[in-house]
Amino acid sequence: MSKQVVQLSRVVIRFAGDSGDGMQLTGDRFTSETAGMGNDLSTLPDFPAEIRAPAGTLPGVSAFQLHFADHDIMTPGDSPNVLVAMNPAALKANLGDVPRGADIIVNTDEFTKRNLVKVGYETNPIEDGSLDPFKVHPIALTSMTVEALKGFDITKKDAERAKNMFALGLLCWLYHRPTEGTIDFLTAKFGNKPEIMKANLRAFEAGWSYGETTEEFSIQYEISPAPMRPGTYRNMSGNLALSYGLIAASKLSGLTLFLGSYPITPASDILHELSRHKRFGVMTFQAEDEISGVGAAIGASYGGALGVTTTSGPGVALKSEAIGLAVSLELPLLVVDVQRGGPSTGLPTKTEQADLLQAMFGRNGEAPVPIVAPQSPSDCFFAAIEAARIAITYRTPVFLLSDGYLANGSEPWCVPDVSTLAKIEPNFAYELNHEAADGTMEFWPYLRDPETLARPWAVPGTAGLEHRIGGIEKSDGAGTISYDPDNHDKMVRLRQAKVDAVARTIPDLVVDDPDGDARVLILGWGSTFGPIGAACRLVRAAGESVAQIHLRHLNPFPSNLGMILKSYDRVILPEMNLGQLSMLIRAEYLVDIIGYNQVRGMPFKSDELAAVITDVLESG
């Protein structure tokens, strides 16, 4: 039976099911096939903090959204065109995001009276007409999977479990996705369980064939590859890119990468990933607590390694005192904060940008720390290298502020040629550097480089440079303990000046204003880059002008930021917090900011931001 094929330019699919239904895996596989097709794409996993919340309940729903297109896209999509709902809970939890007219594929086997009652459906939504505004495809996914696996030597439970592969097969058929990647994947994944492997492969094929033969779907869709600059591409998630960026920084600087870390969502994947790369000499130390994680990283830096600690907001709070020590010792240190909803335990698996002021000010005393924030999942690679460059060059702790959305989201990445990445020079100290009054040469651990204001990094094992330093205030230059008032005033200012000096090596911001006549500027930082960029496109497509800049360096700011801000009538700043960057910008530049703030644990939607921009444009 040959079916009608319709060309689409973009599609948003959301897979939703119980935590145990394998939705993240299904989404990952579909993403891989889509990446291989050459579509541009962006993904948004959304899962509960509980590992296995009670089956069939609303808190247990796990979802994976994927946006793919024949053109370049910036977000995982505002709302799904297709919802795959594996049970009533998944339908109920996600229906609010589904626009009228969208397709909903439901697994009818799970719509039992018991499951309906569990989530508060009094009648079956598939039958009671409440889904009339949508194109509903009721499919008995579980029983068809079990039927297809008759004769396999596996338990009924294992057969039922393969229903996600049936669903994946069906979606792959519907959107013309290749199947080889998934076949290879399943073959490798279940290599030591051949019967389970065959069953999953069979379920996947059965789903595909079902699409081909059923009358439920009369149309197949095609989305052409997106034009992209030539190169080798792969799909890249934020935590993976960040891990690779750290390994790259270690290579580029020639320093051993030492990670001290305590498990915490959503940063643990970086610990997992780096622990797999011993071939690069990476040392991963799973510490007894957050403080030990950063402490060990400082110890490794003192010994001449690239010390890194990875965590999320609650962990940063615990590390504060040690980060202050690194400020005082003036040693390189990377503090990676994959931000999540706060305060306290907050929303461990949801995203937020509310640690900016913690990174900026969350220490005792005047303790300035440079801050770098990646703007997309794959950008975590370059942001990690940049953070390492600043840390090593300026002998300072540096915050790298990722977030849950970047960490778990993914996008195609044009693999860089490593020979194009700039080396990082550690410039270890080997020589005595100061002439004492009696004419002998001595070593002064706080004699600064006049350009960067960085102090010499003399590591243990360097003959003649033995010295003692600590968290107590040190005399300028000699670095011996000093309680002198003028010296302290000078050292506080010097540490600030050193961080300020980083700005000299930060590239100027380039305003994105294709029309060239915008009077309103939209400013953002971190993971809001995608939604803001997509919103600007919507506004411009409607014939309006808006200019955009996005900050990668939050401390210090790029040198031309103030001038840019002052050249627009109004500045809009969306943030997933209550206005933290707005506060810093107002304080620094005395420029007023129109903040747009939301802390729902989810990224902004582009149409929502477009409406914000349009409102400001119209009110002018």
Binding site: A35, T232, Y233, M283, A287, G304, R468
Partner: protein, 360 residues
């Protein structure tokens, strides 16, 4: 004597645990280890004696000075690194074992020492201490125990006896105290010893044994704070009483003490240990000390004999010294094995991964 490092053999072979640390080109003296900083402890503080002994002991190791690092936390004792002409890091309260773990793990060519006190190690830094001990990181931890907070001017510490009257316990402390040796043994430590600030010879012996040990060594040093807790260890120091109060543990020898070696340690019918009169119990029933016993049970039982208030029956010496691969060695071995099997990593290959597509 300690079987692991005899005094007669002070060549580098006496310190297999330091085999990766470069050796000094010429003999050193205590003077080589004195820094130019003015020592600022209160006159009469027990820390002076420890510093002087350590400065005299370090030349015995025969290591390059620049490959020795002292890391400390916060407290009177933690000023120690400033006075030694080695590399030194005076860190933050309680965190020295964590910082030293990162340093020792990434730098096998260093001899890393942690200087800490009873408040620093057992109160604010308790978590780092026990985890360093169980991991067996190549660190030597010197815990100066003066049973008081000195630097903050006299509050009771985790080793202060219950009932102690201090600035923060005017009616007497209601805290029950830690026994650092028992704690370390419970934390799976591979080397645990106790010694006394003023006993230069014994302190040197214990430091020597600790240096020879691969992995974490915990050395509790009874130290006198003459300002806030004077004479806390007096029964052990006073030559009139010390023989009666203190038992010196020597590996392989019967555990006997008293002015005339008239007391000894024997096992009770219920399995516990007790102090007995040797004459009554018979020499055959006196336990011999085995610092290398795999099971820490007896070492723990020995650590429980002392009375925390009167200090009667206090053992000093090496309680436990067993062989277990150090954490840092295991980590280096894992890395070496992977590189041996798969070759060193190539960054470009890593970035490519195995699921790419080309756009031309």
């Amino acid at each position: 004597m300690f079987s692991r490092a005899g005094e007669e053999d002070m060549t580098t072979d006496a310190f297999p645990a330091l085999s990766l640390v470069p050796k000094a080109d010429a003999p050193q003296s205590a003077k080589d280890f004195k820094s130019d900083q003015e020592v600022r402890w209160c006159p009469g503080c027990g820390d002076y004696a420890i510093l002087s002994t350590v400065q005299s002991f370090l030349p015995d190791l025969g290591l390059k000075r620049e490959n020795i690092v002292f890391v400390s936390g916060i407290g009177c004792s933690s000023r120690f690194p400033y006075y030694l002409d080695t590399f030194g890091l005076h860190s933050i309260h309680g965190r020295a074992p964590a910082i030293a773990t990162g340093l020792a793990t990434s730098r096998p060519d260093l001899s890393v020492w942690v200087i800490t006190g009873d408040g620093d190690a057992l109160s604010i830094g308790g978590n780092h201490l026990i985890h360093a001990l169980r991991r067996n990181v190549n660190l030597k931890i010197l815990l100066f125990n003066n049973r008081i907070y000195g630097l903050t001017k006299g509050q009771y510490s985790p080793t202060s006896e219950r009932g102690k009257i201090t600035k923060s316990s005017p009616q007497g402390s209601i805290d029950y105290s830690f026994n650092p040796v028992s704690l370390a043994l419970g934390a799976e430590a591979t080397f645990v010893a106790r010694t006394i600030d003023s006993d230069r010879k014994h302190l040197t012996e214990v430091l020597t044994a600790a240096a020879a040990h691969e992995g974490t060594a915990l050395v509790e040093i009874y130290q006198n704070c003459n300002i806030f807790n004077d004479d806390a260890w007096e029964p052990l120091k006073d030559t009139d009483t010390s023989d009666d109060f203190m038992m010196r543990l020597v590996h392989g020898e019967p555990i006997r003490f008293g002015k005339h070696q008239e007391k000894g340690v024997a096992r009770k019918a219920d399995g516990h240990l007790e102090v007995v009169e040797v004459a009554k119990a018979g020499l055959d029933n006196i336990l011999s000390h085995d610092a290398h016993a795999k099971d820490p049970g007896l070492a723990f039982a020995l650590s429980r004999l002392s009375n925390p208030r009167t200090l009667a029956n206090t053992p000093i010496g090496v309680f436990r010294d067993i062989t277990r691969p150090s954490y840092d060695r295991l980590m280096r071995d894992q890395i070496a094995e992977v590189i041996e099997a798969q070759g060193a990593g190539d960054l470009q290959t890593l970035l490519h991964g195995n699921d790419t597509w080309a756009v031309s």
